[in-house]
Assembly symmetry: D3
Homo-oligomer: 248 residues x 6
């Protein structure tokens, strides 16, 4: 989804015949490296193109201080997301933000409850930061209505059982009890983005001549393993591998 | 002033009702973090969003070398400001630049005189760098006409008395004697920027419901201390704290 | 294990009575932040204390180029580990390195086979880089003798099934067939490091007076949840949480 | 003081005659740049020599979030200082740390009170972080006994008058009322460090031949202004300027 | 050439009379420092303005690993250049890229041959990466037709004679034998860019009054040496020094 | 030379048999990456291991300002080298420094003369910075006695002829006329460092079994080209390639 939002208009034209296929999409871009270096894949960087740094990790060994840092971070992230919300009216971006406000609120709430358990300080009373309730945002309200702000998901069948000692009691808005859920939330079918050939940066390159061949890679050109790799590049690879036309 | 220039058009619309209030203001921005991360506050960064670094400080312990570095920096800053001057015809930006050319010229001149005192080298004869006199710039001439290029301000009543041993003699343009002035220059009334609610990032959040409450925070909602903090956030805080409407 | 190696001698003495408990352990350290900032926890940094950076991630979107980068990285890591091997004769460090040479060799080999499948180039013939066989290192030979260099572990029961299309055939040393193993390798009981009070950076602080109380935290001082958190701080927390003496 | 601690043993011998005057002082140093680049002056860097960065400044424009960040920073600084305390038994370093624990505690307390005023959350109940009371540290207790933990100094005669709305009530240890003090704390005479010639990096260089001249710079060699600059290099210069022997 | 492409429209108007001469050229720029800091000179930075870093250099001391890194870099550079090619239809930029694809291909090919000599692995069979032949790009084909992909230039008359042991045999496309050429390729007359006064950042400043003088610097104002320096600023200086009008 | 100084004691023992060959050499090192990452090759980094950055390059387009920066850099480098001189009494290091003080002095002098030509300011009168004459340093005096401080070498037979317009007149110490020399200074035979096998990071690895083979690589194992590459790794490679014993 994020990549679809970022990529903007698709490539137009065919670079091998002398048209600048991405020229229109990258007029006045802030982050031209997203195309040149990463080929529209994920970057470990902020929206200015500045890389994430390992010293962002704060791990002092003092539990209270580490919780305080994480509680700060959750609320800082919420603030930044509200600012991003102000910058766009793209419905998909806003729906994603709406969901994140609700789920990020769970994290901040959980840290606050851990604080309360350890120190007795009711830091949850500061929430939300900034003081704009999720229900006030049209794109968050549907997720609140479904109670997503009361659920903490526990993916591992065997670990983190003690989390219930923290995540219990009433929701901040009094809408019902907090709940630990085993297993992931019910998902939706992944959106099948229409796969397109990206002639200049295919993951598995056509081996014939570019101009004739690319549109007519013969069936069976790739070995089964190559086909598998192209279709399932694994965790560290980017989205949307190149596929032979007609491949399922 | 700088923030006013940077912010450009004000927020339009009300984000809580689904309009993207800052979308127009941040079309094709170079530094989107100025909104997302800093909320239009001051950033310790250059115009590319790259942070200031502590190793920019040069402090060798050798007075001649340190003066040489500072003399270089003053003239480098002047060069960069001339380049910025070329990029804008905003009258407020140009007036500020015009003032800075004059006052920065004082600094370069003072370093040059210190050099002359210590080494006998008349480095002042290189000034100005670049070789464009302040009086040639329409926005600087008025400040030169008032003699601002001949005055060195000494804010502390007790310190830096020896500066007169350096800052004396004739101005570079022969317009009169250099002068050490005790106390700050006469200022002007601070421009009272019209304070606006910033609904999504108020410094002191309204505690009621966002949509009704923000426009009608009841008098007395904040304690006196909270009100004081909101109005005077202190040195490290940003500009324009949130204020109740009607507060003086 | 790594932390045990790094920490060196334990704290000696009691800081609250004026002894410098870690003075001896941190004489002439290269990375004093490992104590001051991280409290002996994990750092996302190299051995010089320089943070990891997000632009180390290379993800071009071209599968051949990405494989080439990863193949390079695996062999670069092997080279660096051989250099570390030269710097120490600590048996625990050397045993860990011996294991890593074998397992890292699996990764390099797997990338090489993927190359061969996609391009037909037998890049595996370059291995190992540097040209020192694992069996030549006394600490690696036992792991080679057990065939650890022929096994690729597949942890997920449902994913990555296609990996067998790459990881098959004979081992580079002709010792037997490559093998995909479902599930993790058989482990060993985790070493129970003797837990010690760290008076100055406990994860859950004793709440009584420091000098008397620390040695005599009354049973039941912590709530059950606090106790659970202290004993199981979760993924992002560091090692060895503070524990009440006598706690199981 | 810090520089004295860092510099360790003084230069021995005379470099111009072929002895390596600082060789002994800089055996196995972590930060050799403190000598080479800064000449023992202040560095805008951490103890690993990594420069301070402008993006350490967090200024979101949301008062609650900014207070939360500052409250975290004060306690993080306290944690790091406790770790430094563990690394040294130098009495001067420990006395300085003892003082800083007390004064830093004032800052954390003040932020906590501001929180309470704005949100009603009694975050002060978490203090101190880590849970080691200042009075438990022998070097802090004398400053606590004098009530330094109850005083907030207000240097400006005209500003920050509203701080009393935050800083009032009882001290956390119940030892008495919090107090706003106008003006700086009573100081002590600055320690007059014995000034020594540093032959290779004098701030104002002797102009004669080095080997004879340095020990016998004739009176009056420097102009009065040069002398003044050498003795009072101003805010951005480092410590201990070069002085003619015999100068007052 | 690059600078011409980057500079875009020339300065319009005369800043000293209050017009913003570069305003139009720098609307919505990604890299405003190219004007402010570097005056349109070369920057040791990427297209995002991030500086080159010395730790990009990989030099392990193991020849195989170093070759592997360089082989990766050549192909990574080709990938990035193909992405840039997609972003522009400027004929000059595309012609330059077309040339670079051919010459960069020589480098990748040469590294591959060195690999083959040392290890027997025919890594050249992977080329080109990405799998788009140079002849498929209209701007590269003319250089391929001239055989530029078969020539390795050897500039030093005395060194690198052994390169022929690597660079021999058939070209990858079977078009003829690889060839080592002594001396540089035949060049073309350097394009004489029309020199313009840049009033605000001349390399040798006019010394007269700016407004009258700049258009009428008298012949002979500069000494011969100054004139020479202005015309030939040497390796580390930028392009297009300031010149007197009428100077040859 | 530098690498010899840095490497310190040679590897002792044979890592493949379980001895830590470099353990003694790297006890308490500041820059352990010089061994682990670079294998004792050149690093584009300072003595703290911090990489060089492209934004160190200052190129404003204003000739006066650029000269001022370079003049500052030359004197800053001299200051740092004097500080290094204070840290060591290694005769080879001191002799190298002695030479560099003399040759670096030529650079500072040349920049000063260029200034004088362009601006008339006799900045050369500040030299040397710091105010310690080269002749006062025992290791510099021999090079001064040979007049090395009066010679500017011009390596290109055709370029930079105009440099004589700057570099002429008397030396600063009145010892004779400045002189432009065509061609490089007369050198000395390169010291033939005894080449040693570095078993774990050979540039061209022995292909036989490590333990027997390394001491007995059969003649002719490498092809002629491999041998050539091993002996002459080119500009970007490090020092001291691996060589077969007995190779000329």
């Amino acid at each position: 989804l994020i990549n679809s939002l970022l990529n903007g208009p698709e490539s137009a034209g065919d670079p091998a015949t002398g048209t600048a296929s991405y020229k229109r999409a990258f007029k006045d871009p802030r982050n031209v490296h997203h195309h040149i270096v990463m080929g529209h894949g994920a970057m470990v960087a902020n929206s200015m193109g500045q890389p994430w740094r390992g010293d962002y990790v704060f791990n002092s060994g003092n539990l209270i201080l580490d919780l305080l840092h994480n509680f700060f971070l959750e609320n800082g992230a919420r603030t930044h997301k509200l600012r991003v919300y102000e910058l766009t009216d793209n419905p998909a971006a806003r729906q994603m933000l709406g969901y994140l406000f609700v789920r990020g609120g769970v994290h901040a709430h959980a840290y606050a409850l851990a604080f309360e358990e350890l120190t007795g300080v009711e830091i949850k009373k500061m929430l939300p930061i900034p003081k704009i309730e999720n229900v006030a945002l049209p794109e968050s309200r549907p997720f609140e209505d479904k109670g997503f702000h009361r659920k903490l998901y526990r993916f591992s069948p065997d670990d983190y059982k003690e989390v219930a000692a923290i995540w219990h009691g009433q929701a901040l808005d009094g809408s019902g009890p907090l709940e630990v859920v085993d297993g992931p939330p019910e998902g939706r079918r992944l959106c099948e983005t229409r796969r397109r050939r990206r002639r200049l940066h295919p993951r598995v390159p056509p081996r014939g001549d570019l101009r004739d061949g690319a549109e007519a890679v013969p069936e069976g050109e790739m070995t089964p393993a190559a086909s598998a790799m192209a279709l399932r590049p694994g965790g560290s690879s980017g989205p949307q591998p190149w596929r032979r036309p007609g491949a399922a």
